[in-house]
Structures are given as structure tokens and as C-alpha cells.
């Protein structure tokens, strides 16, 4: 062994997880399971052990084996057609989504695939999207073989129904081009303006003219290309009879440009082209920072990315069919850990279906032959056969998804945003000021009307407000994403700040959804009993048995288990090493007919009841603290699809008046959110499963909690990594700080405006004053926004 024996747990060389039940010691390395060892062997044979040198324990646990024929559906031409991106006589290009990609070792291994199989020409990893583009010669290797090769080294491709009609979103690069060009023009115009600011000799009239015309030429791409971003947005808002923040900006750009052209043509001055292009450049930089999206996350997932792409049909002979081709009365074979794709009747085998993602129930449901099983659940345990009674498109889950209430697009419009409110207010003041100064000069000295009125519009351009808004939003979004809350866009920050009601889902959100919190009460158990218990419990796939097996921390695989019997919904018993061990419900073990009130299972040895195991949903870290913090400022409620087993505990946590409702169907949750909104609340919904999908959409802001942000999450406004749920209060406070920071920097920009307007209304605004005010105000606003947002994050102990 490499490590000294001081540490009691042995780390797996491949995946780094602790080796619990058994350790495979081979090649002077320790492996936690066969799977990890196999991957190591493949890599070692091919001389690719650099994989382990680049980062420590880079693999992922291979404990759960991938079913042998899992990728058989890739032999079907029709299915692979929809997956491959390019094909000619020799080569095929295909992109696989590999959610396991996480470190530099992964990248290295996947880009060296050609060393594992010579028929692979090249592979290129996109780390951000966790995808690998693979090019291979299809004469010698099939798509299925490539998928299996990836699986054999621990990177199982994730192929879902979504892949079939997937349209890759094209990255919008136009903003980057616009920014580059604006920056180029801005810098050169600035350079050309310096001579006049610094007092060029008036005798050099020719040179001045050249400089001015060159500036004008350089400003054209800024006005007609770079700033088009703002024209489009302003035009859209005007069409909806609403002034957004871009409208006054467009006005300012037009007026500045018009005035500058006029000045240059009449030889009256050099205009304000440098300030104008500078503003456009800075605003584009702000936009890009704010729009920097998380490509790897998808906020618009629907059920199709949750469904498999194909299933096994066994009508006459066994074949794989793609999901849309499943017809009524087909018989399907569902393997362990596979999803039930359509509603049907169980025709063979014993189903143990995990619906936690669909309904929120934390315990799997057991179904006997002849019972109806609904789509969306995951089969655990042995293979089952089912007869399809409803097509995929008609099944319960799909229908649920396609319900109109669930679909209503979130038309929470930006017009409610306070920034746009201020901008509108501001626009009217500016217009008024401009007209007032024009009127004044009309009376006093009509020659200066033009100069004064345009100068007011130029100076008062609310670019400072826009800058402070985009930069603050951008920075807050980045801080939040560093702390693993990924918001869909900047608008959501403001929405988070405005909420007053928080609704949680229970299973999977507040709890981990697994039964890990076990306590044993009763007579003490000897080591030999523990071993026997482990041997018995590991015979069953039921999560409670699994949890007990893990709890014993013993390995009973060498013990002889005979006469094993599992009574559905009751318990299990067997003779282990000569002793009859029974594990199950109170009725099953003790014969008592009293109703069961808690999630507990009893243990008896040779008919002698030793004690019971109490199960509790394990709450995520620091949830009680979080709820107590939130209770002080917000109304908090819990809507759960689960049974009311933990009602007392939760009621105590949330307070006597809080809504805590159990057995909630997806429609019920949606309805309650709607009702709360009608009562005038602004609701934040926090959930995880498909059963929350409707509520997440209906709520003013819906946040999906995910163990792993690459896993499937229902459509939402934001995705929060489960381990960071306890920071929710800080996230809300930071969103509130966002508004204060924008306001503060806006006040600063007003001060600059007052100075600028002091010159402007007197028709004294020289291009130089504009050129000085513009960068100073922009830079001070940048300092304020970045400084304050980082300060608030630091105060809240966020990263």
C-alpha cells in the first residue's frame, strides 16, 4: 500500500472515494469496485496512466455498472442519424454529452481516445459544455462501439430524447464584433481629438480639417453598426408604447451625432464624436459582461431531456425503438434504473418505482402485476415488462408538462424594473430642460438655441445610469455564480429582491431525498448479528434495506443466505448462517395491528424482536438555521408531495401560522402559488422535481435546486447547487444590495449631470468638457459598482 495505515479509510485509486465494503488490492493500488479497476486496467494497458498523474483520483465511481446492451439502440440507423453532425464515405462526426467531465485528466483522456482505438481519428472536448466532438472512421467502428468505448473508461454518454430534435443554439458573437469596432473607433477618434483640446496652432487649419473628417469617418461604424444594439431594443420598447432605458440613449446618440456632423460641416467645431463613441463602447462592454451566460446550464429544459431516446420493445422479437415510435399495445422491457417512458400496465416482474422526481414522494412505490404504472418513474431492481396503454405524447407526465398553465411564458416584463422607471422619469426631465433652455435663448439670443438645446441632450444622456445598472448586475451575477447560484439573466436579481413570500418543496429540496438519517433503538447488536443483518439487507433493492445495509458498515457477502423471502410493502426475511432474520414493518415483524405513524422498520432474530430503525429524511446542512433567518423577514411555506410524517418537526421550525401542506399534486402547488399571488404576495418558489415545474414557472421567481447543475432540472429562473441552499438568505440580501448600489451610482451620475448641464444650458459646453466628464463619470461609476458589490458580498461572507 502506498499510504501508511494511519488512516482507516482506504481511498480508491481511480475515483478517490472511500472503499467501504471491499477493497480490491491489485497492481499495488486499491480500488473500491470492479468498475474502477477495469478502467484502470484499460488505461494501463494502453499506456495512458498519465490520466492519474495529471490530477489525483480523477475518475468517477464505477460502482453502478452500466447495463451491457444499454447502447444497443445506437445500432439503429434512424436514431444515430439524429445524433451525428456530419458523415461522408469515411468519416463520421458526432458530439456526445459527457456529464462526467470535471477535471484536466478528463480532458486529456478524452482527447487521447485515438490511442485506445485506432479508428478514432480525433476527439475534442468542449469543457464548458461538457461535450466531446469525436471523429471516427465508421467502416471499422460503429457509433455504438464509440459510446461503449467511452463508457468503458468511465465516461458514459448521456443521450436523451431531447437529442433528437435538438437545435444547437448558435452563439451570438455580434456583440463582440460591435464592441471591438466601437473600441477601435473610440480610441482613434480620441487620439484625433487631442490636438484640438491641447490647443493646436490655428494656422494648421488643413490639419484640423483632416482630423475632423477622419473622426467623422471613424464614427460612422459606431453609429451605424455598433450602436444598432440599442436601436433595436429602443424600437421594440416604443412599439410596445413604453420607454425603456435604451430610448433616451438612442436619442442622445442621434443628437450628438447630428450636432457633431453639423459642427464639422459648418466648420464650427469638432463635435462630440469621441464622447459618443466612448459611451457606446462602454455600454457595450457592460452589456457583454451582463449577458455573459452560463453556456453549460440550460434553463429551458423540458421533459424530453429527462426521457431516454430509445427503449427495448419485445413484441415478437427484442428490438430497440426510438421513443416517438412506441405505439399502443407494445410490450416494453424496462431494465433496472431505466425510466418508464409511457403509461402502461405491468405484465411481468415486480416493479419498485421511484417517482420522487415526478411526485415528490420520497419512497419508491411498489406495483404488482396488472397494476397501472405511470410514465416518469424510475424502475429499481429487476427487469419488468409492461404493456403500453397510452402513447408517450399522451402519457400523464407529458400531458402534465404540456398543460397550458405550465406553459404560460413568463411575461414578467422589464417595464416593472425600477431602472426603466427612473430612465423614463429622467427622459422627461431632460426633454423639459432642453426645451426650457431653448426657450430661454430664443428670448435672449436666438443664435444659441441650437447649441444649448443639443448640449443638454448630449450631457444628460442617461448612460451613467445604464452603465451603473449593467455593470452592477454583471458583477452581482458573477458573485452569485461563484457561489453556485446561476440566474437566467440580470432581470432576475431585481425580482429576487422584491419577493416577500418563499415557498419550499420538501423532498429533494430541503431534504436530500435519500434515507440516510437512521437511528437504531433497542437491544445492542453484536458484530455477528450486524454481519447477518448486512447479508440480509443487501439482498433487497428497497432503499430502506439498502440504507440499513450501509448503516451496519459490515460486509456480509460471505454468509450463506437461504430461504430469502420478500413480501412486497411489508418486509424481508431469510435464514442467514442458520438464524432466521426478519426485517420489515411492525406488522410484518411483530404482528401488531396498530397503525404505523413513523417511517420505521423492525428487526427480529429467531422471532425475538431486537429493536427498530427510525428513518428520517435527511435535511440538507444548516436548513433549520436558514429557515429561522428567513422567517424573520419573509413568510415561509412548504408544499410537499410526500406524506405528513414530518409535519410536527416542520411546523415547529416554521412557526404555527405557516402553511405546511402535504400530498400536494403538481396542479395543487401551482394553484397555491397563484392564490398567494392574487393575495398580493410576490412569491419565490424553490423546488427540484418535475412536480414543481408548474409552480416554478408560476412563481415570480422560481429556483431549481440540483445536486449537480448538469443534471436535469425543470425550467426555472435560476439553478442553485443544493449544497449552497443554506446561503439563500445571503443571496436575497445581495440582490437587495444591487438596487442600493445602482441608486448610489445613479446619484453620483446626477451630480456629474448637474455640472455638465451648468455649462450646457449656458451654451458653453465645449467638446473638451464633454470629453473630460464622460470618462470620469464612467470610471467613477465603475469603481462604485464594483467596489460596493464586492464589499456587500464580502460582508455577507460570500465568495
Amino acid at each position: 500500500m502506498d499510504k501508511p495505515t494511519t488512516s482507516t479509510t482506504i481511498q480508491c485509486y481511480h475515483c478517490g472515494e472511500a472503499c467501504i465494503d471491499k477493497t480490491i488490492h491489485i497492481y499495488e493500488k486499491d480500488f473500491c469496485c470492479e468498475g474502477c479497476k477495469l478502467v484502470y486496467e484499460i488505461l494501463n494497458q494502453n499506456g495512458m496512466c498519465d490520466y492519474y498523474a495529471i490530477s489525483k483520483n480523477p475518475g468517477l465511481s464505477q460502482r453502478i455498472k452500466v447495463r451491457e446492451n444499454k447502447f444497443a439502440f445506437l445500432d439503429d440507423e434512424k436514431i444515430t442519424q439524429s445524433l451525428i453532425s456530419f458523415k461522408n464515405e469515411n468519416q463520421t462526426h458526432i458530439t456526445f454529452y459527457l456529464p462526467q467531465i470535471h477535471c484536466s485528466s478528463c480532458l486529456w483522456l478524452l482527447e487521447n481516445l485515438h490511442r485506445l482505438n485506432e479508428n478514432i481519428i480525433s476527439s475534442k472536448v468542449n469543457f464548458t459544455r461538457k461535450e466531446a466532438d469525436i471523429i471516427f472512421t465508421h467502416k471499422n467502428i460503429s457509433v455504438r462501439k464509440v459510446a461503449e468505448l467511452l463508457t468503458s473508461v468511465g465516461y458514459e454518454p448521456y443521450i436523451s430524447l431531447n437529442n433528437i430534435h435538438q437545435v444547437k443554439p448558435k452563439l451570438n458573437k455580434s456583440k463582440l464584433y460591435k464592441m471591438g469596432i466601437a473600441g477601435f473607433c473610440f480610441a482613434n477618434i480620441m487620439l484625433l481629438s487631442f490636438p484640438e483640446y491641447l490647443g493646436i496652432d490655428t494656422k494648421e487649419q488643413n490639419l484640423i480639417t483632416v482630423f475632423r473628417w477622419l473622426s467623422l469617418l471613424l464614427s460612422l461604424p459606431v453609429v451605424f453598426y455598433s450602436a444598432s444594439e440599442f436601436y433595436i431594443s429602443a424600437w421594440k420598447s416604443i412599439k410596445h408604447k413604453f420607454l425603456n432605458i435604451d430610448a433616451p440613449i438612442v436619442l442622445a446618440v442621434f443628437v450628438t451625432f447630428g450636432r457633431s456632423v453639423f459642427d464639422i460641416l459648418t466648420n464650427a467645431g469638432s463635435g462630440y464624436l469621441d464622447s459618443m463613441s466612448g459611451i457606446v463602447f462602454f455600454m457595450l462592454v457592460g452589456r457583454i459582461l451582463q449577458d455573459k451566460t452560463y453556456e453549460e446550464l440550460s434553463f429551458e429544459r423540458d421533459y424530453t431531456s429527462y426521457f431516454p431516446i430509445a427503449v427495448t420493445r419485445i413484441n415478437n422479437n427484442q428490438e430497440t425503438v426510438s421513443l416517438p415510435d412506441i405505439a399502443l399495445n407494445d410490450t416494453l422491457l424496462i431494465h433496472n434504473q431505466e425510466l418508464i417512458p409511457a403509461d402502461g400496465i405491468l405484465t411481468r416482474g415486480k416493479a419498485l418505482i421511484d417517482y420522487s422526481f415526478v411526485t415528490g414522494e420520497s419512497l419508491p412505490v411498489e406495483k404488482e402485476m396488472g397494476e397501472i404504472i405511470y410514465a416518469g418513474g424510475k424502475q429499481i431492481g429487476s427487469n419488468i415488462e409492461m404493456l403500453v396503454i397510452k402513447e408517450v405524447a399522451q402519457s400523464y407526465l407529458t400531458k402534465l408538462w404540456n398543460r397550458d398553465e405550465f406553459k404560460q411564458a413568463t411575461t414578467k416584463e422589464e417595464r416593472y424594473s425600477f431602472v426603466h422607471f427612473i430612465a423614463r422619469f429622467f427622459t422627461w426631465i431632460v426633454l423639459f430642460l432642453s426645451i426650457a433652455s431653448a426657450l430661454y435663448w430664443w428670448v435672449v439670443n436666438p443664435d444659441k438655441i441650437w447649441a444649448a438645446a443639443t448640449a443638454v441632450l448630449i450631457v444628460a444622456c442617461p448612460c451613467a445610469l445604464l452603465l451603473s445598472n449593467t455593470f452592477t448586475n454583471g458583477n452581482i451575477l458573477r458573485i452569485l455564480s461563484r457561489n453556485h447560484l446561476y440566474l437566467r439573466n440580470a432581470q432576475k436579481i431585481e425580482e429576487i429582491a422584491s419577493i416577500n413570500y418563499i415557498v419550499f418543496d420538501k423532498t429533494g429540496t430541503l431534504t436530500t431525498g435519500r434515507y440516510q438519517d437512521i437511528s437504531y433503538g433497542g437491544k445492542p447488536l453484536s458484530k455477528s448479528i450486524l454481519k447477518k443483518l448486512a447479508a440480509l439487507a443487501s439482498q433487497s433493492m428497497h432503499p430502506m434495506s439498502r440504507a440499513v445495509a450501509a448503516w451496519t458498515n459490515e460486509n456480509g457477502t460471505h454468509l450463506k443466505v437461504t430461504a430469502f423471502e420478500e413480501v412486497t410493502g411489508k418486509g424481508i426475511e431469510a435464514i442467514v448462517d442458520g438464524e432466521l432474520i426478519t426485517l420489515g414493518s411492525r406488522e410484518f415483524v411483530t404482528g401488531s395491528k396498530l397503525p404505523e405513524l413513523e417511517s420505521a422498520i423492525y428487526l427480529s432474530v429467531e422471532g425475538d424482536v431486537l429493536g427498530k430503525f427510525n428513518f428520517r429524511n435527511q435535511y440538507r446542512d444548516n436548513i433549520p438555521t436558514l429557515i429561522r433567518q428567513l422567517r424573520k423577514k419573509y413568510k415561509v411555506a412548504i408544499l410537499s408531495g410526500d406524506n405528513s410524517g414530518e409535519k410536527n418537526y416542520l411546523q415547529e421550525l416554521l412557526g404555527v401560522n405557516a402553511h405546511i401542506l402535504f400530498h400536494q399534486k403538481p396542479e395543487d402547488k401551482l394553484g397555491i402559488i397563484k392564490k398567494l399571488q392574487q393575495e398580493g404576495n410576490r412569491v419565490m418558489m424553490i423546488g427540484d422535481g418535475l412536480n414543481d415545474a408548474g409552480a416554478l414557472k408560476q412563481a415570480d421567481i422560481g429556483i431549481a435546486v440540483a445536486e449537480n447543475t448538469n443534471n436535469f432540472t425543470p425550467a426555472s429562473d435560476g439553478i442553485l447547487e443544493a449544497a449552497k441552499l443554506h446561503l439563500l438568505n445571503q443571496f436575497i440580501q445581495l440582490s437587495k444590495a444591487n438596487k442600493r448600489i445602482v441608486m448610489a451610482s445613479f446619484i453620483v451620475s446626477i451630480l456629474y449631470n448637474i455640472v455638465g448641464n451648468y455649462f450646457a444650458v449656458q451654451a458653453l459646453l465645449s467638446p473638451m468638457i464633454a470629453a473630460i466628464l464622460m470618462p470620469i463619470s464612467s470610471i467613477s461609476i465603475l469603481i462604485i459598482t464594483f467596489g460596493f458589490s464586492n464589499l456587500s458580498a464580502w460582508k455577507m461572507k460570500l465568495k
Binding site: Y27, E28, K29, N44, G47, M48, C49, D50, Y52, A53, I54, S104, L107, W108, E111, V125, N126, F127, T128, R129, L171, K173, L176, Y177, G180, I181, F184, A187, N188, L191, L192, E204, N206, L207, V210, L214
Partner: protein, 56 residues
């Protein structure tokens, strides 16, 4: 004066080169994936064939 014009042309053309380089870099997808290239360059000059044990 003609010197200044000359310099002007030189400076703008140099700046244009940089602009062209920027546009080319965006177009060729250098901003599409900002995470893999910095890792990829670490592996460029690794020796080709290594086994983990009894290699030396």
C-alpha cells in the same frame, strides 16, 4: 505636416491590424470555450507512452 499625416496613417493601420486580429479571434471561436485551451496546452509536450507501475 506631411509627417503627421504619415504617422496618422501608420497608427491607424496598426490599430486596424489589431482590430482585424480581434475579429479573427472571435470568428475562429476562441471565445467559445474558455476553459479547455488553458488545460490543453499543459498536455502538449507530455511523453507519449507511460504506464503507471514498473515503467522505470
Amino acid at each position: 505636416m506631411s509627417v503627421i499625416i504619415l504617422l496618422l496613417i501608420a497608427s491607424i493601420s496598426v490599430a486596424s491590424l489589431f482590430l482585424a486580429a480581434f475579429i479573427w479571434s472571435v470568428k475562429s471561436g476562441q471565445y467559445d470555450d474558455e476553459k479547455s485551451p488553458p488545460m490543453r496546452m499543459l498536455f502538449d509536450d507530455k511523453p507519449g507512452f507511460t504506464t503507471d507501475n514498473n515503467n522505470n
